[in-house]
Symmetry: C2
Protein backbone atom coordinates (compact mmCIF):
# COMPACT_ATOMS: atom_id res chain seq x y z
CA UNK A 1 0.00 0.00 0.00
CA UNK A 2 1.43 3.36 -0.99
CA UNK A 3 2.79 5.30 1.99
CA UNK A 4 3.13 9.06 2.22
CA UNK A 5 5.95 11.06 3.76
CA UNK A 6 3.81 12.24 6.66
CA UNK A 7 2.95 8.66 7.70
CA UNK A 8 6.55 7.48 7.49
CA UNK A 9 7.91 10.38 9.56
CA UNK A 10 6.83 8.59 12.71
CA UNK A 11 8.05 5.18 11.54
CA UNK A 12 11.25 3.40 12.46
CA UNK A 13 14.15 3.07 10.04
CA UNK A 14 12.98 -0.47 9.36
CA UNK A 15 9.43 0.73 8.59
CA UNK A 16 10.79 3.25 6.11
CA UNK A 17 13.14 0.79 4.38
CA UNK A 18 10.38 -1.82 4.22
CA UNK A 19 8.05 0.68 2.52
CA UNK A 20 10.82 1.60 0.08
CA UNK A 21 11.75 -2.02 -0.64
CA UNK A 22 8.16 -3.02 -1.33
CA UNK A 23 7.67 -0.06 -3.67
CA UNK A 24 5.15 1.60 -1.34
CA UNK A 25 7.34 4.71 -0.96
CA UNK A 26 9.39 6.26 -3.77
CA UNK A 27 9.88 9.87 -2.74
CA UNK A 28 12.61 11.86 -0.98
CA UNK A 29 13.99 10.85 2.42
CA UNK A 30 14.54 14.26 4.10
CA UNK A 31 13.11 14.11 7.62
CA UNK A 32 12.69 10.32 7.63
CA UNK A 33 14.51 7.90 9.96
CA UNK A 34 15.55 10.83 12.13
CA UNK A 35 18.71 10.24 14.11
CA UNK A 36 20.14 7.73 11.64
CA UNK A 37 22.80 8.30 9.00
CA UNK A 38 21.52 8.82 5.47
CA UNK A 39 23.90 8.36 2.56
CA UNK A 40 24.56 9.11 -1.08
CA UNK A 41 25.10 6.09 -3.29
CA UNK A 42 27.46 5.17 -6.13
CA UNK A 43 27.62 1.71 -7.70
CA UNK A 44 30.44 0.87 -10.12
CA UNK A 45 32.03 -2.12 -11.82
CA UNK A 46 34.98 -3.49 -9.84
CA UNK A 47 37.43 -2.31 -12.53
CA UNK A 48 36.70 1.25 -11.38
CA UNK A 49 36.35 0.54 -7.67
CA UNK A 50 39.94 0.95 -6.47
CA UNK A 51 40.36 4.31 -8.23
CA UNK A 52 36.99 5.53 -6.98
CA UNK A 53 37.89 4.52 -3.44
CA UNK A 54 41.19 6.40 -3.80
CA UNK A 55 39.23 9.40 -5.09
CA UNK A 56 37.03 9.32 -1.98
CA UNK A 57 40.04 8.90 0.33
CA UNK A 58 41.75 11.91 -1.27
CA UNK A 59 38.62 14.08 -1.20
CA UNK A 60 37.05 13.22 2.15
CA UNK A 61 35.07 16.45 2.49
CA UNK A 62 32.97 16.08 -0.69
CA UNK A 63 33.18 12.24 -0.67
CA UNK A 64 33.06 10.93 2.91
CA UNK A 65 33.06 7.15 2.45
CA UNK A 66 30.90 5.42 5.05
CA UNK A 67 30.38 1.97 3.56
CA UNK A 68 31.57 -0.31 0.73
CA UNK A 69 30.00 -3.61 -0.30
CA UNK A 70 31.90 -6.73 -1.20
CA UNK A 71 32.18 -7.15 -4.96
CA UNK A 72 28.91 -8.64 -6.26
CA UNK A 73 27.24 -8.56 -2.82
CA UNK A 74 24.15 -6.29 -2.82
CA UNK A 75 23.91 -6.27 0.99
CA UNK A 76 25.45 -3.28 2.79
CA UNK A 77 26.48 -5.38 5.80
CA UNK A 78 28.42 -2.75 7.74
CA UNK A 79 25.59 -0.18 7.54
CA UNK A 80 22.60 -2.24 8.65
CA UNK A 81 21.23 -5.65 9.47
CA UNK A 82 19.20 -6.05 6.27
CA UNK A 83 20.04 -3.44 3.63
CA UNK A 84 19.66 -4.64 0.04
CA UNK A 85 21.11 -1.89 -2.12
CA UNK A 86 19.09 -3.12 -5.14
CA UNK A 87 15.72 -2.23 -3.59
CA UNK A 88 16.19 -0.11 -0.46
CA UNK A 89 16.73 3.31 -2.04
CA UNK A 90 13.58 5.11 -3.28
CA UNK A 91 14.95 5.99 -6.73
CA UNK A 92 18.15 5.47 -8.71
CA UNK A 93 19.85 7.30 -11.60
CA UNK A 94 21.46 5.00 -14.17
CA UNK A 95 24.49 6.39 -16.01
CA UNK A 96 25.89 4.72 -19.13
CA UNK A 97 29.28 5.89 -20.43
CA UNK A 98 29.08 8.86 -18.05
CA UNK A 99 25.63 10.05 -19.18
CA UNK A 100 22.32 9.85 -17.33
CA UNK A 101 20.30 7.21 -19.18
CA UNK A 102 17.25 6.62 -16.97
CA UNK A 103 15.76 6.85 -13.49
CA UNK A 104 14.31 3.71 -11.88
CA UNK A 105 13.02 2.59 -8.48
CA UNK A 106 14.62 -0.88 -8.37
CA UNK A 107 17.94 -2.08 -9.80
CA UNK A 108 17.54 -5.84 -9.22
CA UNK A 109 17.55 -6.48 -12.97
CA UNK A 110 20.76 -4.49 -13.39
CA UNK A 111 22.74 -6.08 -10.56
CA UNK A 112 25.89 -7.98 -11.59
CA UNK A 113 28.57 -10.04 -9.92
CA UNK A 114 31.23 -7.39 -10.60
CA UNK A 115 29.44 -4.41 -9.04
CA UNK A 116 30.63 -2.61 -5.91
CA UNK A 117 28.33 -0.26 -3.96
CA UNK A 118 29.71 2.81 -2.16
CA UNK A 119 27.76 4.79 0.46
CA UNK A 120 28.86 8.39 1.09
CA UNK A 121 27.80 10.64 3.97
CA UNK A 122 25.42 13.52 3.26
CA UNK A 123 24.57 16.95 4.63
CA UNK A 124 21.33 15.94 6.36
CA UNK A 125 23.42 14.99 9.40
CA UNK A 126 25.03 18.38 10.07
CA UNK A 127 21.88 20.30 9.06
CA UNK A 128 19.99 18.53 11.83
CA UNK A 129 22.75 19.50 14.27
CA UNK A 130 22.51 23.15 13.13
CA UNK A 131 18.74 23.19 13.63
CA UNK A 132 19.15 21.65 17.08
CA UNK A 133 21.55 24.50 17.89
CA UNK A 134 18.79 26.98 16.87
CA UNK A 135 20.60 27.99 13.70
CA UNK A 136 17.97 28.41 10.97
CA UNK A 137 18.53 26.64 7.63
CA UNK A 138 16.69 28.62 4.96
CA UNK A 139 16.13 25.91 2.34
CA UNK A 140 14.66 23.56 4.95
CA UNK A 141 12.36 26.23 6.37
CA UNK A 142 11.26 27.00 2.82
CA UNK A 143 10.91 23.38 1.75
CA UNK A 144 13.32 23.72 -1.16
CA UNK A 145 16.54 22.03 -2.25
CA UNK A 146 19.84 23.52 -1.09
CA UNK A 147 21.55 25.62 -3.83
CA UNK A 148 24.65 23.94 -5.28
CA UNK A 149 27.46 25.39 -7.42
CA UNK A 150 30.37 24.13 -9.46
CA UNK A 151 33.29 25.89 -7.71
CA UNK A 152 36.80 26.62 -8.99
CA UNK A 153 38.27 24.33 -6.30
CA UNK A 154 40.07 21.35 -7.84
CA UNK A 155 39.54 17.95 -6.33
CA UNK A 156 42.52 15.60 -6.04
CA UNK A 157 42.28 13.20 -9.00
CA UNK A 158 42.53 9.40 -8.82
CA UNK A 159 42.66 7.45 -12.07
CA UNK A 160 39.81 8.64 -14.31
CA UNK A 161 38.02 10.41 -11.43
CA UNK A 162 38.57 14.18 -11.37
CA UNK A 163 36.81 17.52 -11.58
CA UNK A 164 35.92 20.69 -9.71
CA UNK A 165 34.37 20.51 -6.26
CA UNK A 166 30.63 21.08 -6.10
CA UNK A 167 29.65 23.15 -3.06
CA UNK A 168 26.34 23.81 -1.34
CA UNK A 169 25.50 27.27 0.06
CA UNK A 170 23.69 28.17 3.27
CA UNK A 171 23.05 31.75 4.39
CA UNK A 172 24.43 32.19 7.93
CA UNK A 173 24.17 35.20 10.26
CA UNK A 174 27.58 36.86 10.50
CA UNK A 175 27.88 36.18 14.24
CA UNK A 176 26.92 32.52 13.81
CA UNK A 177 29.62 31.59 11.28
CA UNK A 178 32.11 30.45 13.91
CA UNK A 179 29.50 28.31 15.68
CA UNK A 180 28.31 26.80 12.40
CA UNK A 181 31.91 25.96 11.52
CA UNK A 182 32.51 24.30 14.90
CA UNK A 183 29.28 22.31 14.73
CA UNK A 184 29.71 21.01 11.20
CA UNK A 185 33.39 20.21 11.78
CA UNK A 186 32.19 17.61 14.32
CA UNK A 187 30.70 15.61 11.43
CA UNK A 188 33.63 14.53 9.24
CA UNK A 189 31.41 11.85 7.66
CA UNK A 190 28.91 14.55 6.62
CA UNK A 191 31.21 16.99 4.77
CA UNK A 192 32.73 18.51 7.94
CA UNK A 193 33.54 22.22 8.28
CA UNK A 194 32.75 24.67 5.46
CA UNK A 195 35.30 25.02 2.65
CA UNK A 196 34.64 28.76 2.35
CA UNK A 197 32.67 31.61 3.95
CA UNK A 198 32.22 34.99 2.29
CA UNK A 199 32.88 36.27 -1.23
CA UNK A 200 31.49 33.68 -3.68
CA UNK A 201 33.86 34.93 -6.41
CA UNK A 202 36.83 33.72 -4.35
CA UNK A 203 35.82 30.16 -5.21
CA UNK A 204 34.69 30.90 -8.75
CA UNK A 205 30.99 31.52 -8.16
CA UNK A 206 29.82 34.45 -10.27
CA UNK A 207 26.21 34.71 -9.14
CA UNK A 208 25.27 33.28 -5.74
CA UNK A 209 21.54 33.47 -6.42
CA UNK A 210 21.84 31.33 -9.58
CA UNK A 211 22.84 27.82 -8.51
CA UNK A 212 23.97 25.11 -10.95
CA UNK A 213 21.83 22.55 -9.10
CA UNK A 214 19.01 22.84 -6.55
CA UNK A 215 16.84 25.87 -5.91
CA UNK A 216 17.90 29.53 -5.58
CA UNK A 217 18.15 30.81 -2.01
CA UNK A 218 18.85 34.32 -0.74
CA UNK A 219 21.81 35.53 1.30
CA UNK A 220 19.82 37.30 4.01
CA UNK A 221 20.66 40.78 5.37
CA UNK A 222 23.45 40.58 7.94
CA UNK A 223 24.30 37.10 6.66
CA UNK A 224 27.32 35.57 4.93
CA UNK A 225 27.14 32.88 2.25
CA UNK A 226 28.80 29.76 3.70
CA UNK A 227 29.88 26.95 1.38
CA UNK A 228 30.28 23.27 2.15
CA UNK A 229 31.76 20.46 0.05
CA UNK A 230 28.79 18.72 -1.57
CA UNK A 231 27.87 15.13 -2.38
CA UNK A 232 27.22 16.06 -6.01
CA UNK A 233 31.02 16.26 -6.44
CA UNK A 234 31.45 12.49 -6.86
CA UNK A 235 28.62 12.51 -9.40
CA UNK A 236 30.61 15.00 -11.52
CA UNK A 237 33.73 12.83 -11.11
CA UNK A 238 31.73 9.73 -12.08
CA UNK A 239 30.54 11.48 -15.23
CA UNK A 240 34.16 12.41 -16.02
CA UNK A 241 35.27 8.80 -15.56
CA UNK A 242 32.69 7.62 -18.08
CA UNK A 243 32.29 4.11 -16.72
CA UNK A 244 30.12 1.92 -18.96
CA UNK A 245 27.68 1.58 -16.05
CA UNK A 246 27.28 3.65 -12.91
CA UNK A 247 24.26 3.77 -10.62
CA UNK A 248 23.65 6.56 -8.11
CA UNK A 249 20.72 7.50 -5.89
CA UNK A 250 18.36 10.09 -7.35
CA UNK A 251 19.26 13.33 -5.50
CA UNK A 252 17.33 13.65 -2.24
CA UNK A 253 16.34 9.97 -2.38
CA UNK A 254 18.93 8.57 -0.01
CA UNK A 255 19.83 5.29 1.63
CA UNK A 256 18.74 5.29 5.30
CA UNK A 257 21.12 3.22 7.41
CA UNK A 258 20.97 1.65 10.88
CA UNK A 259 23.97 3.75 11.98
CA UNK A 260 23.13 6.39 14.64
CA UNK A 261 24.13 9.88 13.47
CA UNK A 262 26.35 10.33 16.51
CA UNK A 263 28.19 7.02 16.09
CA UNK A 264 31.96 7.39 16.32
CA UNK A 265 32.44 5.12 13.29
CA UNK A 266 29.87 4.12 10.65
CA UNK A 267 30.21 0.38 11.17
CA UNK A 268 27.87 -2.10 12.84
CA UNK A 269 29.70 -4.79 14.75
CA UNK A 270 29.73 -8.08 12.80
CA UNK A 271 26.80 -10.41 13.50
CA UNK A 272 27.58 -13.16 15.96
CA UNK A 273 27.73 -16.55 14.32
CA UNK A 274 25.81 -18.99 16.53
Amino acid sequence: MAKDHQTLRTGTVRDVRTAIRSGDYRSHTAGLGLGFLQTNLAILPQDFALDFMRYCQRNPKPCPLVGVSDTGDPMMRTLGRDIDIRTDVPAYNIYRDGRLAETVTDISALWRDDLVAFALGCSFTFERALIEADIPVWHIENDSTVPMFRSSIDTVPAGPFRGKMVVSMRSVARDSVAAVTDISRRFPLAHGAPVHAGDPAAIGIAEVTRPDWGDPAPVLPGHVPVFWACGVTPQVALEAAGAPLCITHKPGHMLITDIPEDAEVPVLPPEKTP
Copy 2:
Protein backbone atom coordinates in the same frame (compact mmCIF):
# COMPACT_ATOMS: atom_id res chain seq x y z
CA MET B 1 76.79 11.68 7.91
CA ALA B 2 74.97 9.63 10.51
CA LYS B 3 72.47 11.66 12.53
CA ASP B 4 71.31 10.88 16.05
CA HIS B 5 67.82 11.24 17.50
CA GLN B 6 68.82 14.16 19.72
CA THR B 7 70.10 16.21 16.76
CA LEU B 8 67.02 15.54 14.64
CA ARG B 9 64.57 16.49 17.42
CA THR B 10 65.15 20.16 16.60
CA GLY B 11 65.03 19.62 12.82
CA THR B 12 62.15 20.25 10.44
CA VAL B 13 60.13 17.43 8.91
CA ARG B 14 62.18 17.91 5.74
CA ASP B 15 65.47 17.64 7.68
CA VAL B 16 64.30 14.38 9.24
CA ARG B 17 63.09 12.86 5.97
CA THR B 18 66.29 13.94 4.19
CA ALA B 19 68.38 12.21 6.86
CA ILE B 20 66.25 9.09 6.53
CA ARG B 21 66.34 9.11 2.71
CA SER B 22 70.11 9.45 2.60
CA GLY B 23 70.55 6.61 5.09
CA ASP B 24 71.94 8.92 7.77
CA TYR B 25 69.12 8.07 10.19
CA ARG B 26 67.62 4.59 10.59
CA SER B 27 66.13 4.58 14.08
CA HIS B 28 62.67 5.17 15.58
CA THR B 29 60.68 8.34 14.89
CA ALA B 30 58.99 8.97 18.27
CA GLY B 31 59.43 12.64 19.19
CA LEU B 32 60.62 13.67 15.70
CA GLY B 33 58.81 16.10 13.37
CA LEU B 34 56.64 17.21 16.29
CA GLY B 35 53.24 18.54 15.24
CA PHE B 36 53.10 16.52 12.04
CA LEU B 37 51.18 13.33 11.37
CA GLN B 38 53.21 10.12 11.53
CA THR B 39 51.83 6.99 9.92
CA ASN B 40 52.03 3.23 9.79
CA LEU B 41 52.75 1.75 6.36
CA ALA B 42 51.48 -1.21 4.33
CA ILE B 43 52.48 -1.86 0.72
CA LEU B 44 50.66 -4.55 -1.25
CA PRO B 45 50.25 -5.76 -4.84
CA GLN B 46 47.24 -4.17 -6.55
CA ASP B 47 45.40 -7.53 -6.59
CA PHE B 48 45.03 -7.17 -2.81
CA ALA B 49 44.53 -3.40 -2.68
CA LEU B 50 40.74 -3.13 -3.03
CA ASP B 51 40.11 -5.71 -0.30
CA PHE B 52 42.68 -4.12 1.99
CA MET B 53 41.09 -0.71 1.46
CA ARG B 54 37.69 -2.22 2.29
CA TYR B 55 39.24 -3.76 5.41
CA CYS B 56 40.51 -0.35 6.50
CA GLN B 57 37.15 1.31 5.75
CA ARG B 58 35.34 -1.30 7.83
CA ASN B 59 37.79 -1.12 10.73
CA PRO B 60 38.57 2.59 10.95
CA LYS B 61 39.64 2.54 14.61
CA PRO B 62 42.54 0.06 14.22
CA CYS B 63 43.15 0.99 10.54
CA PRO B 64 42.59 4.73 10.00
CA LEU B 65 43.52 5.23 6.35
CA VAL B 66 45.22 8.58 5.77
CA GLY B 67 46.84 8.12 2.36
CA VAL B 68 46.96 5.76 -0.63
CA SER B 69 49.40 5.93 -3.54
CA ASP B 70 48.52 5.45 -7.17
CA THR B 71 49.35 1.93 -8.35
CA GLY B 72 53.07 1.77 -9.13
CA ASP B 73 53.72 5.36 -7.97
CA PRO B 74 56.14 5.46 -5.00
CA MET B 75 55.35 9.10 -4.22
CA MET B 76 52.78 9.75 -1.46
CA ARG B 77 51.46 12.88 -3.15
CA THR B 78 48.57 13.67 -0.81
CA LEU B 79 50.73 13.43 2.33
CA GLY B 80 53.68 15.63 1.38
CA ARG B 81 55.48 17.53 -1.33
CA ASP B 82 58.32 15.05 -1.77
CA ILE B 83 57.69 11.73 -0.02
CA ASP B 84 59.24 8.71 -1.72
CA ILE B 85 57.89 5.69 0.10
CA ARG B 86 60.86 3.56 -1.11
CA THR B 87 63.43 5.52 0.92
CA ASP B 88 61.70 7.86 3.38
CA VAL B 89 60.88 5.40 6.18
CA PRO B 90 63.79 4.45 8.48
CA ALA B 91 63.23 0.69 8.33
CA TYR B 92 60.87 -1.75 6.61
CA ASN B 93 59.66 -5.27 7.33
CA ILE B 94 59.31 -7.48 4.25
CA TYR B 95 56.66 -10.22 4.41
CA ARG B 96 56.52 -13.04 1.89
CA ASP B 97 53.45 -15.29 1.86
CA GLY B 98 52.37 -13.74 5.16
CA ARG B 99 55.65 -14.35 6.98
CA LEU B 100 58.31 -11.85 8.03
CA ALA B 101 61.26 -12.51 5.72
CA GLU B 102 63.66 -9.64 6.38
CA THR B 103 64.09 -6.08 7.65
CA VAL B 104 65.68 -3.50 5.36
CA THR B 105 66.26 0.28 5.28
CA ASP B 106 65.45 0.89 1.60
CA ILE B 107 62.96 -0.86 -0.69
CA SER B 108 63.96 0.69 -4.02
CA ALA B 109 65.08 -2.68 -5.34
CA LEU B 110 61.74 -4.27 -4.37
CA TRP B 111 59.48 -1.60 -5.88
CA ARG B 112 57.20 -2.79 -8.70
CA ASP B 113 54.65 -1.28 -11.07
CA ASP B 114 51.80 -3.14 -9.37
CA LEU B 115 52.44 -2.02 -5.78
CA VAL B 116 50.09 0.25 -3.82
CA ALA B 117 51.22 2.02 -0.62
CA PHE B 118 48.81 2.65 2.25
CA ALA B 119 49.53 5.06 5.13
CA LEU B 120 47.56 4.53 8.36
CA GLY B 121 47.30 6.91 11.32
CA CYS B 122 49.15 6.05 14.54
CA SER B 123 48.84 6.67 18.26
CA PHE B 124 51.65 9.24 18.49
CA THR B 125 49.08 11.92 17.63
CA PHE B 126 46.68 11.36 20.53
CA GLU B 127 49.49 10.60 22.98
CA ARG B 128 50.91 14.06 22.33
CA ALA B 129 47.45 15.55 22.98
CA LEU B 130 47.22 13.61 26.27
CA ILE B 131 50.61 14.87 27.40
CA GLU B 132 49.67 18.44 26.50
CA ALA B 133 46.58 17.98 28.71
CA ASP B 134 48.91 16.99 31.58
CA ILE B 135 47.85 13.35 31.48
CA PRO B 136 50.96 11.22 32.05
CA VAL B 137 51.69 8.39 29.60
CA TRP B 138 53.70 5.76 31.46
CA HIS B 139 55.50 4.07 28.57
CA ILE B 140 56.68 7.43 27.20
CA GLU B 141 57.90 8.61 30.62
CA ASN B 142 59.72 5.29 30.98
CA ASP B 143 61.11 5.24 27.43
CA SER B 144 59.55 1.89 26.58
CA THR B 145 57.16 0.59 23.92
CA VAL B 146 53.43 0.63 24.67
CA PRO B 147 52.12 -2.85 25.70
CA MET B 148 49.93 -4.44 23.01
CA PHE B 149 47.57 -7.43 23.23
CA ARG B 150 45.65 -9.67 20.87
CA SER B 151 42.06 -9.07 22.09
CA SER B 152 38.93 -11.19 21.61
CA ILE B 153 37.31 -8.40 19.55
CA ASP B 154 36.65 -9.51 15.97
CA THR B 155 37.49 -7.11 13.18
CA VAL B 156 35.10 -6.89 10.22
CA PRO B 157 36.60 -9.05 7.46
CA ALA B 158 37.14 -8.01 3.83
CA GLY B 159 38.28 -10.63 1.34
CA PRO B 160 41.31 -12.43 2.81
CA PHE B 161 41.85 -9.77 5.49
CA ARG B 162 40.54 -10.75 8.91
CA GLY B 163 41.53 -11.40 12.51
CA LYS B 164 41.20 -10.22 16.09
CA MET B 165 41.77 -6.58 16.98
CA VAL B 166 45.13 -5.79 18.55
CA VAL B 167 44.81 -3.22 21.34
CA SER B 168 47.33 -1.05 23.17
CA MET B 169 47.01 -0.40 26.92
CA ARG B 170 47.67 2.79 28.87
CA SER B 171 47.22 3.11 32.63
CA VAL B 172 44.87 6.05 33.34
CA ALA B 173 43.86 7.58 36.70
CA ARG B 174 40.24 6.66 37.40
CA ASP B 175 39.13 10.31 37.39
CA SER B 176 40.91 11.00 34.09
CA VAL B 177 39.24 8.26 32.04
CA ALA B 178 36.44 10.52 30.79
CA ALA B 179 38.87 13.27 29.78
CA VAL B 180 41.19 10.79 28.06
CA THR B 181 38.22 9.41 26.14
CA ASP B 182 37.11 12.87 25.04
CA ILE B 183 40.61 13.90 23.98
CA SER B 184 41.40 10.79 21.96
CA ARG B 185 37.97 10.76 20.35
CA ARG B 186 38.97 14.05 18.70
CA PHE B 187 41.56 12.13 16.65
CA PRO B 188 39.61 9.70 14.45
CA LEU B 189 42.69 9.34 12.21
CA ALA B 190 44.76 8.23 15.22
CA HIS B 191 42.56 5.38 16.57
CA GLY B 192 39.96 7.67 18.20
CA ALA B 193 38.34 6.90 21.55
CA PRO B 194 39.32 3.81 23.56
CA VAL B 195 37.59 0.52 22.68
CA HIS B 196 37.49 -0.56 26.34
CA ALA B 197 38.31 0.67 29.85
CA GLY B 198 38.47 -1.63 32.86
CA ASP B 199 38.52 -5.42 33.23
CA PRO B 200 41.03 -6.79 30.69
CA ALA B 201 39.26 -10.19 30.73
CA ALA B 202 36.17 -8.58 29.19
CA ILE B 203 38.11 -8.29 25.93
CA GLY B 204 39.96 -11.58 26.26
CA ILE B 205 43.15 -10.41 27.94
CA ALA B 206 44.19 -12.88 30.63
CA GLU B 207 47.22 -11.10 32.06
CA VAL B 208 47.49 -7.35 31.60
CA THR B 209 51.15 -7.25 32.64
CA ARG B 210 52.16 -9.75 29.94
CA PRO B 211 51.68 -8.09 26.54
CA ASP B 212 51.84 -9.96 23.23
CA TRP B 213 53.89 -7.11 21.70
CA GLY B 214 55.80 -4.18 23.22
CA ASP B 215 57.04 -3.87 26.78
CA PRO B 216 55.19 -4.69 30.02
CA ALA B 217 53.71 -1.69 31.83
CA PRO B 218 51.99 -1.49 35.22
CA VAL B 219 48.41 -0.49 35.96
CA LEU B 220 49.19 2.05 38.67
CA PRO B 221 47.31 2.31 42.01
CA GLY B 222 44.02 4.20 41.55
CA HIS B 223 44.31 3.66 37.79
CA VAL B 224 42.24 1.76 35.21
CA PRO B 225 43.70 -0.07 32.21
CA VAL B 226 42.42 1.71 29.09
CA PHE B 227 42.61 -0.01 25.71
CA TRP B 228 42.81 1.56 22.25
CA ALA B 229 42.57 -0.06 18.82
CA CYS B 230 46.15 -0.53 17.65
CA GLY B 231 47.99 -0.22 14.35
CA VAL B 232 49.38 -3.74 14.73
CA THR B 233 45.88 -5.01 13.83
CA PRO B 234 46.38 -4.55 10.06
CA GLN B 235 49.71 -6.37 10.35
CA VAL B 236 47.88 -9.41 11.78
CA ALA B 237 45.30 -9.15 8.97
CA LEU B 238 48.09 -8.86 6.40
CA GLU B 239 49.69 -12.03 7.78
CA ALA B 240 46.29 -13.78 7.55
CA ALA B 241 45.89 -12.69 3.92
CA GLY B 242 49.24 -14.24 3.02
CA ALA B 243 50.00 -11.98 0.06
CA PRO B 244 53.12 -13.11 -1.85
CA LEU B 245 54.68 -9.74 -0.98
CA CYS B 246 53.78 -7.20 1.66
CA ILE B 247 55.99 -4.43 3.00
CA THR B 248 55.32 -2.61 6.28
CA HIS B 249 57.27 -0.11 8.36
CA LYS B 250 59.33 -1.63 11.17
CA PRO B 251 57.31 -0.89 14.35
CA GLY B 252 58.17 2.54 15.76
CA HIS B 253 59.92 3.52 12.52
CA MET B 254 57.15 5.57 10.95
CA LEU B 255 56.57 7.72 7.91
CA ILE B 256 56.62 11.42 8.90
CA THR B 257 54.26 13.43 6.69
CA ASP B 258 53.81 17.13 5.91
CA ILE B 259 50.24 17.01 7.31
CA PRO B 260 49.77 19.05 10.54
CA GLU B 261 48.41 16.88 13.36
CA ASP B 262 45.42 19.18 13.75
CA ALA B 263 44.49 19.20 10.04
CA GLU B 264 40.81 18.51 9.45
CA VAL B 265 41.66 16.10 6.60
CA PRO B 266 44.99 14.40 5.86
CA VAL B 267 45.31 15.75 2.32
CA LEU B 268 47.59 18.44 0.92
CA PRO B 269 45.93 20.54 -1.75
CA PRO B 270 47.09 19.50 -5.24
CA GLU B 271 50.11 21.37 -6.57
CA LYS B 272 49.23 24.17 -8.94
CA THR B 273 50.22 23.41 -12.50
CA PRO B 274 51.89 26.53 -13.92
